[in-house]
């Protein structure tokens, strides 16, 4: 007899029933987790910023490490010292994306908020607005679009190929890839964990010994997903910083 494996359809692992409200204002588990993330990030940064002990401990220590990380390995590496004014925005972005991602491996919750496209798409559009605004404010609208669409150093006969690509990139490709990268990474991780959980359960019912291997892999993949959650938050923030930096300092 072939062991039948009932695999849940993808709508069952990413769609959650509505708790209350309707239409675009419906509240379900994912929306609720987003609110919890907002509260957690706000509380973390507020408490960490209010305590001003000379030797940081506890929450203040963690908050200061996060600020240092965002400043040293994201902003200074990509924008430079004059991008430090963007610390509040990028810090919030990093902590919020990470908090939304880490729900993926919290037992009993296990649903990354970013596995629905809505939140990544919104944050990508926000970044899109900000880097265009920064570019227009620091270079003026004409110079900004000229330097973005017609990169200097490209020979004139290649410009007809480069200019449309650059134009599409700053208008569509950047926000699209920013949103899809985060979304697809989180949903892929979620599906991976679901798959191994389902396989473990099916094998556990058949043979207990046979379930050991997929269960060990499930544990290993959970640890891997912590890395992915952090890395995706890091990459999202660093790309936002790169786009802002590119708008501030035109190539020359």
């Amino acid at each position: 007899m072939i062991l039948g494996l009932e695999f849940p359809p993808i709508s069952h692992v990413t769609e959650w029933p509505t708790w209350f409200g309707s239409g675009p204002f419906a509240v379900n588990k994912v929306v609720f987790l987003m609110w919890v993330s907002v509260a957690l990030v706000f509380g973390f940064l507020y408490i960490g910023g209010r305590q001003q002990a000379l030797v940081p401990r506890g929450v203040q220590n963690a908050a200061e490490v996060t600020v240092d990380f965002v400043q040293d390995s994201i902003i200074l590496q990509t924008i430079g010292p004059d991008g430090l004014g963007f610390t509040p925005f990028l810090l919030t972005l990093f902590t919020f994306v990470f908090t939304c991602n880490i729900w993926e491996i919290v037992p009993g919750v296990q649903m990354p908020v970013n596995a629905r496209i809505a939140l990544p798409a919104f944050m990508a559009v926000l970044v899109w607005f900000i880097y265009h605004t920064v570019g227009i404010a620091s270079q003026g609208p004409f110079r900004y679009f000229k330097s973005a669409v017609f990169p200097p150093g490209v020979p004139w006969y290649a410009m007809w190929l480069v200019a449309p690509i650059e134009f599409a990139q700053i208008l569509i490709v950047r926000p699209l890839s920013l949103a899809v990268r985060l979304f697809a990474n989180m949903i892929a991780g979620h599906l991976l964990l679901v798959s191994f959980a389902v396989i473990t359960q099916a094998l556990f019912e058949a043979t207990i010994v046979g379930a050991a291997l997929p269960f060990a892999l499930l544990i290993a993949l959970t640890a891997f997903e912590v890395l992915v959650a952090f890395l995706q938050a890091y990459i999202f923030t660093i790309l936002a910083a790169v786009y802002i930096g590119g708008a501030m300092h035109p190539e020359h």
Partner: protein, 85 residues
Amino acid sequence: MLQLLAQQAEGELVEGLTAVGRGIVYGGAAIGPGIGIGLVVGNAITAMARQPEAAGMVRTTMFLGIAFTEALALFGFVLAFIISG
């Protein structure tokens, strides 16, 4: 009766071909980024081994390169779900 059977067979054929198409889309989309990420990380490791003091800068650039390369595979992943028979 025969027509009904033919319709059913056609439905199953479409379903099967959709599954094959999804596999081809994701598998095809993973080839290039696989090679690309290998090149990016390999060269970043070479650079770090040659100049350990520049490791921080190389690592940041490496993650950027990975992110840009990886996006193509992820587009394939999302497209594989979008395809429906």
